[in-house]
Amino acid sequence: MKKRTARIYYISAILVLLSVLLFMFIKTFNDNLLFYRSPSQITNAEFPENYVFRVGGVVLDGSLIKSKNTMNVKFTITDYERNLDISYTGILPDLFREGQGVVIRGKLASDGIFYAEEVLAKHDETYMPPEVLESLKIDETTLQKTTESMKVYK
């Protein structure tokens, strides 16, 4: 009988430990999920202030403004329905250019500007990140025409 009670304590201790570990694991996992939104999916007050998430879209032609002294840049991304202004301080990736799809991690401030912590452009000039491509509000052939015309324009 005594041996059995000991075993019950033993097993329940392990179970408690395991559930604590599991809880911590799930919490860590949840805390580190980064959601993705396209400009037109961003609604007010979906995320708390200073919440980090990712946005994506095409860099609007002619929107890039570079500072003359610092690494600060401002540009606008679009999903061809709504635009979103981005502010970023740092070195932009090599393949960042107007008309190109980008994915950006950062925070939306109350002034409506998205402050970027990281800007990702892809490793291939013809390549559009799938999440951006999917969220665009125009079909692929129209997109091809627009980006093509941008190339000629440049």
Partner: protein, 641 residues
């Protein structure tokens, strides 16, 4: 013409694989010669695929732009050595490389399986043939590198500049050697399930294959990390990117496997578990291929998206893994597996090793697959941040590494007296705590992570080196240590890797800053002076080159030349980092963008001990190889027992 020969050879290889897999079930009823058909066709696959691969190389060297694959991955201006490496730079060519490597392993398996039971051997080779058939079908039906262009372009589109590099020449073949080597282990495990038996000698037979695959995987992953470090321009060595995870998961499982195989061999235990690990290891390499090749991930590895390819690999993965697992569920219980063992034994520690490694793999799998699953069901687009991996993976690794520094000693020594063992344990623990505590003052940063990293480094290093010296002195013979030299090297490599990774992650300095010509910058005890910018012409690009003079404590040290390139045919810009490598630290500069007249944004990094990451990985590779070599003499497998 060459392309037609290449195409034809691939078709022949496909038919040959078809012959190989039908011999046992069908031909065996017609002719008695089916054995020699299996044996020769399993060897013939390799030359056929090899010559086809050579044909593709020649198509690149001769600028045969009538081939779609050549015209989209090469250019007449591309230097010859990159033309050769471009052969496996895109999707189709790298799948041909995959088939080549698979046929090569099949060839080796066919030769070295001579001393297995005949029936077992034939089944084993048939399963290898089945894998070959699947991948050759994938190549022919969805990714034929010899496909013609509708109209022949004047010149090719050029190879992605990021891939015009030495790292790319060697990284994929090494990684594939590892991925595909696991197919041998997989086929063997499935054959065991078919025969409903797993003899301890078989564990001895399969372990070298697992070890060699593991070594190649380690090398492939290390090369990938090294390449990302100097080529991507961010100076990082690991990003927990899904594509990296895809290669890391099979590595972790294979690590578990090479440990559990020891128990299998010595104690005839963990048989079912080992077979399950073998199946999972290869399934994860197939999963990795699926993730990388289907284009569902965004990375440098996803070239063109073609859903048909993804669907094919996923189907193949489902069939192969599904069939193997069903077979496992049906037959594994019929194998006599001894399960009882005492708590304080090598087996129980190997069990802990395996549990930790499998749990770590699971957490990475979750972080990699969960976003994809949510996306497929259209629920939410998410990604899992790097802090998750660090918070979950590292705590699992600490006890594992701790064991890696002690278990080899515990069970190799002749002294099995528990009391003196415990005494030794506490003394070494205490000494190493003190050593780590004092050595932390050598660095300019103090925190718990550095302390743990240093402790684990000294723990493995001192314990193992002490054991080696003790053995040499006790026996008076250096040869005494050769038996386990591979294990010692691999574990020491792990220690060195940990030291490098800890220091670089906790004590690096990274600056992103705007500098004007002649301006000076101080980082640690280095001063960087931006001298000028010059323009230059490469073979297929134009470049702007920055010139930095570096001073160490005021004394001139070196010149550094980071570049910004623009490739002619693709108009793709590229950053070429300026690196001053060193054993104790790397200095790393990349050019950002022109801010104003003579003003550039630059990244300047100081990375302490980063080289140890790859030196440690290389030691693990050699450890794996030595382990095979030192055991080769006493391998005497077969059906004799």
């Amino acid at each position: 013409m060459i392309a037609y020969i290449g195409s034809f050879l691939i078709l022949l290889a496909f038919l040959n694989a078809l012959l190989l897999i039908t011999s046992k079930p069908i031909l065996s009823k017609i002719t008695a010669d089916y054995e020699s058909i299996i044996l020769s066709s399993s060897k013939l696959l390799f030359p056929l695929t090899l010559f086809s691969f050579i044909c593709l190389i020649f198509s690149f060297l001769l600028d045969d732009f009538s081939l779609r694959y050549v015209s989209s991955n090469s250019n007449s201006l591309l230097p010859d050595h990159y033309k050769i490496s471009a052969t496996w730079a895109g999707h189709e060519g790298s799948m041909l490389l995959w088939c080549l490597v698979l046929s090569f392993w099949t060839f080796l398996a066919s030769i070295y399986s001579r001393n297995l039971e005949l029936d077992f051997r034939l089944n084993f080779l048939t399963i290898m043939g089945l894998l070959n058939l699947g991948f050759l079908a994938f190549l022919i039906f969805t990714s034929n590198p010899f496909e013609k262009n509708i109209s022949i372009p004047v010149d090719g589109k050029d190879l992605n500049p990021l891939l015009q590099d030495f790292g790319l020449i060697v990284h994929p073949p090494m990684l594939y050697m590892g991925y595909v080597g696991l197919s041998v282990v997989f086929s063997f495990a499935v054959t065991c399930l078919l025969q409903k038996d797993f003899k301890p000698e078989w564990a001895k037979w399969i372990r070298p294959w697992a070890l060699i695959s593991w070594s190649f995987l380690t090398l492939g992953i290390a090369l990938g990390s090294w390449w990302a470090y100097y080529e991507l321009g961010w100076g990082g060595w690991w990003f927990w990117d899904p594509v990296e995870n895809a290669s890391f998961m099979p590595w972790l499982i294979t690590t578990a496997l090479i440990h559990s195989l020891i128990t299998c061999e010595q104690k005839s235990m963990f048989k079912n578990w080992t077979i399950l690990l073998s199946i999972i290891a290869f399934s994860l390499s197939l999963l990795g291929t699926f993730l990388v090749r289907s284009g569902i991930l965004t990375s440098v590895h996803s070239f063109a998206n073609d859903p048909a390819r993804g669907a094919f690999i996923l189907l193949f993965l489902a069939i192969i893994t599904g069939a193997a697992l069903i077979l496992y569920l049906r037959n594994s219980s019929q194998m006599n597996d001894k399960t009882s063992f005492t708590f304080f034994s090598k087996e129980s520690f190997f069990l802990i090793n395996n549990i930790l490694l499998v749990t770590a793999t699971f957490t990475i799998l979750l972080g990699t697959m969960y976003p994809l699953v949510l996306d497929i069901f259209g629920l939410e687009k998410i990604s899992v941040g790097v802090p998750y991996y660090n918070a979950v993976f590292l705590p699992l690794m600490i006890p594992l590494v701790f064991l890696a520094g002690y278990i080899p000693i515990l069970f190799s020594s002749s002294n099995r007296n528990l009391k003196s063992q415990a005494k030794y344990f506490f003394i070494s623990f205490l000494i190493i705590i003190i050593i780590s505590f004092f050595s932390i003052s050598l660095f300019d940063e103090y925190n718990l992570s550095i302390f743990i990293g240093l402790f684990l480094f000294f723990w493995i290093l001192l314990n193992l080196v002490y054991e080696l010296i003790k053995k040499i002195i006790l026996t008076g013979n250096i040869k005494a240590i050769t038996q386990n030299i591979g294990m010692f090297m691999a574990h020491l490599g792990l220690a060195i890797f940990i030291l490098g990774a800890t220091m670089v992650e906790n004590s690096k300095t990274e600056k992103e800053i705007v500098v004007a010509v002649n301006e000076k910058l101080d980082i640690k005890n280095y001063t960087f002076q931006f001298m000028n910018i010059t323009e230059s012409e490469g073979p297929n690009y134009t470049a702007v080159i920055g010139h930095f003079k570096v001073y160490n404590n005021g004394e001139f040290l070196t010149d550094m030349y980071p570049e910004k390139r623009l490739y002619n045919s693709s108009e793709m810009p590229m950053t070429e980092a300026g690196i001053d490598p060193g054993f104790t630290r790397d200095l790393y500069i990349t050019m950002g963008t022109l801010i104003d007249q003579d003003k550039w944004s630059v990244r300047i990094y100081h990375k302490p001990l980063i080289r140890l990451i790859w030196i440690g990985a290389l030691m693990m590779v050699f450890g794996g190889i030595f382990s095979v070599l030192s055991k080769r003499k006493n391998i005497n497998i077969g059906y004799s027992s």
